[in-house]
Structure formats: C-alpha cells, structure tokens
Symmetry: C2
Subunit: 335 residues, 2 copies
DNA sequence: CTGTTAGCGCCTTCAC
DNA sequence: GTGAAGGCGCTAACAG
C-alpha cells in the first residue's frame, strides 16, 4: 500500500541537485546567471522528481494569479460560448487565463462565499442574477469587474453593451415598411426584468410599435421564458386567437425556433401566413427551414473588447462604457 | 489621484480591532472560544475594512483549493453545457467549485504551462486534444483526473464513458429492419480519430453495417467535421451522386441538421425521400421540422458521476471505469 | 555565480 | 480567552 506521496517542492529539487532553493528558482525561471553544469543538474533533478511549481505559492508571492473570472449563470446558450471564446483569445494573448465560474444560484451564501473566495485578478460578468450592488461590492473589495450587456458604472467597474434597442426598434420599422401591420410579440416575462439587454430589446421594440403605429393589442403580446419550449407555447396561444398576427417578433432566436415549430404543427406557412423574426442569430438559425430572420450581435468581438477593458481597469482605475452596434439579418422567415 | 489601495489583510483587521491576527482568524472561522465583545469588535472591524480573506493564502496553508478543473476544448456544443451543469451541481453539494479551463490549443506551451500551473484539487477532462500520455502525466504529477468519454486508465486516473457503440450499432440494425438498405453515412473525418466517443460511434455503426449487410459503398461514406456546415456539404455531395441513399446516419446532430437543410434545398422530403438519423439529441433536434431521430446520451448524469468518481480518486487511489447506457430516440426524420 | 534572509496572508500549535 | 511563533512554497533582494 503506497503512501499518497506529496508533491515535491522546490526544496526537494534543491536538495537533489545539491544547491539552494533560490538557485533552483532562478534556473527554472531563467533569471540571473547560472553555471551551465549546475543548471543542467537542476533541470535534471526537477525532471526526475516531476517537479511542478505550485501555482498557489507563486500567486501568493506575486500577489496576482493571472487568472480572470468569467461569471455566467446559464452557459448553455450558444451566445455565451462565442463571447467566451473571444474573451479567452484576448486573455491568452496577454498571458492570462479565463476560468468560467457559474453563478447560477442567487442565494446569499453563494454571493458571499463563491464570489469572495476566488483567486482572480479581475472578472467579467454576464450573470443577470448578480445584482448591481453585488457587482459594485465585488469591484470595490476584490478586483476590477467588467459587466457585459448591462449598463452599470462605479469604481473599478466597466461595462460593454450591445445596442439591442435600436435593432429591435428597426424590426418594428420593417414590420411597418413591409406592410405587416397586425403583429404579435413574444417578449420577456417579468422574471427577466433584471436582464438589461433583454429589457433593451423590449423597450426598443415597443417604442417602435408605438412610433410606427403597429397593431399590437394586449392579447397578442405574450410573455416568454427564452426557451424553445416557451416560444412554442406562446406561438400556440397566439394562433388560438380569433385574429392571428401576420408577423411575430420573438425576443430571442430560441423562442422564435419554438414559434416556427408551433406554426408548422398548425400547418401554417412561414412567411406567407405568418412571418417570424428572432434575435441573436444563433448558428442554427440559418439552418432551419425556413431560415430565420434575426438580429446579429457581435459576440466574438464583445468578449475581446471586454477583456481589453478589464486590463485597462487593472492598470489604471479608469472606467469605461462601450456600446457595440448590432445588425438586422433578413432571411426567409421574414423579408 | 487616489492610490491603488491594497486589499486589507488579517493583520489590518487585527490592528483595527486591537487584537492579534490569530484571534481574528479564530473569530472569523468560528474556532475556539472568544469573548462576545471581542468577537463583535473583530466582525465590526472586518466589516469596516471590507476584509476578504485571501483564497490564495488559504489554499497555500490548507494545501487544497477546493476547486476542480473541467478541461474542455470546444465548449460551444450544447452537450458540454449539460455535462458541466451536472458536474457543477455535484461539486457544489460537496463544497467544491468547478472552473472551466479551455484547452483548445495543442501547443506544447499550453500543455506544460496551462496544465501545470493550475491550482486545482482534481480535474475532469473532455478535451480530445489532450492525449492519453498527457493525462497520465497530469494525473501522476499534479492531481487526480477523470476522463469523460474516453477509455483510459492509470494511476489516479478514472474514466466514465457513454455507450456510443451499441446505439450506433442499433441504428444500423434499425436501418435493416425498416428496410432502408441503401444508406449513406456522414462519419468523422480523420481529424477526429483521437476522439474516443466519436470513434466508438463510428466503429459501432460500421460494425452494424457489416453485420446487417447494409449497402454502403465508399462514395456514400462521407467525412464530416461535426458542424452544421459540414453536414450540409456532405449531404449535398451525397445528393449529387447518381444513386442517392434512402437513409443517412450522421455522427452527430449538428451534421444531421446541416443535412436536413441540404435536403430541403434540393426539395427532397424527409423521411419519405431520404430518412435521417443523428446522434446526441441536442435540444433543438426536437424542434426542427421534421423532428430529428437521434441517440440520447445521459449528459447530466455523466457530469455528476464523473465528479463522484473524482472524489473517490482524491480520497483513495483507486481508479474506476464506468459505462453509461444510451438510448435511441425515434422521431419524424426516421421511423 | 550561488546562498541566506525575509516575507507574501493565513492558520495551527502551544504558551500564557 | 488571547497572543507569539512558525510554516505552507515560492521568489526578490542582498550578501558573499
């Protein structure tokens, strides 16, 4: 029965190589001048012991971990992974790593423990669950924070937003221009009121509805939960109405996909009977039939920019607020 | 111009409260007996300074971080997020956290730096990029490792697999039973040979093709890259053939979705003209038209089980190998 | 060129 | 009840 051997430390290497710990440190990190023979001996000893420096000890000494946190609540969405990819690339270019921390739960226990016990040099946040005050507290007491898709400011706190509102507004305009007057809307249910980007979409679209005089009575305004299932239910409800809408805007692609399914089940054609527009331009949206018209958001860019901003916050204390444009993509489901 | 104030340490709290550091430590961690008045003073001081214990220092002292790593390369897939969710839940129940580390790159730099400089107590690995030897090395020198969907064993190394092969074999059997003799296959291109689960599917299906005497000539065996785009291309190629297949098996749902689109573009009906089967049962597969027949894998379960196994490895040195069943789900695209 | 010393922030003895 | 001392593993500063 073998003992659980402890990991070797720099002293073990030093002993084996017959030198001191600091010489080992220097040799391994390429600092200072070291005779080639001792250097060789040290490398050899390290190799023999499979020595790996402890990241924890290093971080303690260096007072930085070179790790950035990315707080997300959901992570399932395709949107997130693209943003993360953008962030990870930029972080890596600068010798940092990104770790994903899921902040799904809203319990206080999580807020005070999960959030405060990390070893991060900074963080990006995409969790609607984390309230503004929590972020401010985080930024104040722990490390700089960049919020994604949420309009917030404060000390050591930046944000980068996507212009959801104007594209949503643009959709309303297009409905008017193309003569789709009698519309339906699958919008965010109250549960999502704390999600900034979602609310932007909502406000933008409703403003457009008003400004362009679209016909959106209460019964054609449904509240969805941003899943395909929810989109399916909402659209089914819409279709059960005595007067059905000619065009429907869903606040994200997943709901729009669910809506397409409901339409299909009722034997209705898209866009001939009912036109549909989503939001996000997730990958699958251009593969379903009919291809979904939607709004594309610069997710990859967003991630990179957010990390840049975070680096800025880590160096200086300046905070920033950036707004990225979005773009309407017309495909088959609405033209 | 305000200085970048450093985070307060336990000594700062001690000074403010007029006690020693160890008393603060005891008070904050509920150890030992402390007079209520000093205790109050300490809590108060900590609050005033917004003191947060340093996770790094703690980990160094405790010789554990209570953090588990989850190495993934892609992360974009819906499959991953479900597994991660399962793992995160189980980890949390035991006072651990999971951080996602992306190991997308195959460079040596990454293998030796990214992998060795972590502060993890253990890790789950779903990166095909990380070769078996790397995992063994990891397990030997750093921390216990549980590989997901990869058949490997070694010291402090466990694995949990999903039975890809028998379901893929089952698909072939179904093709035979339902009279779909002339088939096509969109399988993994050679680039994916290091992905264990994918290879299992491949082997299982090809074994079935042989055993059940299905008609799969070379030109109807295409190599795809597991994206919708790739599935689209492969299916288009298949349809350009003089004799087109009556049923097509794609090695994952994304490719199957791409295939459906190609079929749609050619004006072919599914399953009447060509039947299609995928693999994974991603969420959207039951929403597209026609709904996709596929193979469901117990992803949520997998994550939890993997963490359990990891805990086992962290306590004892025993290693394990688990195999989880999969299930064929028949929907509209093939019945 | 190499070794000694000291300290990063915390916690665990062990005195008092 | 509380404090002083020491050490987790590493590295920077300074001697030698």
């Amino acid at each position: 029965m073998r003992e659980l051997q402890k990991r070797p430390t720099i002293h073990d290497v030093a002993r084996l190589a017959g030198v001191s710990a600091s010489t080992v440190s220097n040799a391994l990190n390429g600092k200072g001048y070291i005779r080639e023979s001792t250097r060789k001996a040290i490398l050899d000893a390290a190799e023999r012991l499979s020595y790996r420096p402890s990241a924890v000890a290093r971080s303690l000494k260096a007072q930085q971990s070179r790790i950035l946190g990315f707080f997300v609540s959901d992570m399932s969405g395709p949107v997130y992974s693209e943003i993360i990819a953008g962030a990870a690339r930029k972080a890596e270019e600068n010798g940092y790593e990104i770790v994903i921390c899921n902040s799904h739960s809203r319990e206080d226990r999580v807020l005070s423990s999960l959030l405060s016990y990390k070893m991060l040099d900074g963080s990006l946040v995409m969790s609607p669950e984390l309230e503004d005050d929590v972020l401010r507290e985080l930024a104040r007491t722990l490390f700089p924070v960049v919020a994604l898709d949420r309009d917030i400011d404060g000390e050591r706190l930046g944000c980068v937003l996507m212009d959801n509102a104007s594209s949503a507004y643009g959709i309303a305009r297009l409905f008017r221009e193309r003569g789709y007057d009698r519309i339906g809307y699958i919008g965010p249910n109250p549960e999502y009121r704390f999600m900034h980007d979602v609310q932007d979409r909502n406000r933008g679209f409703l403003a457009g509805v008003r400004d362009f005089g679209l016909d959106l009575p209460e019964e054609r305004y449904r509240f969805g939960g941003f899943t395909m299932e929810s989109g399916h239910v909402c659209m089914s409800d819409l279709l059960a109405l005595p007067v059905r809408p000619r065009a429907v805007f869903a606040a994200n692609d997943e709901m729009a996909l669910g809506a397409l399914r409901a339409l299909k089940e009722k034997g209705l054609r898209v866009p001939d009977d009912v036109a549909v527009v989503g939001f996000d331009d997730i990958l699958v949206s251009s593969y379903v039939s009919p291809r979904l018209s939607t709004v594309r958001r610069p997710c990859l860019t967003l991630g990179g920019i957010a990390v840049d901003l975070l680096f800025g916050l880590m160096k200086a204390r300046k905070s920033h607020r950036l707004l990225l444009p979005t773009e309407i993509v017309l495909r088959e489901s609405f033209t």
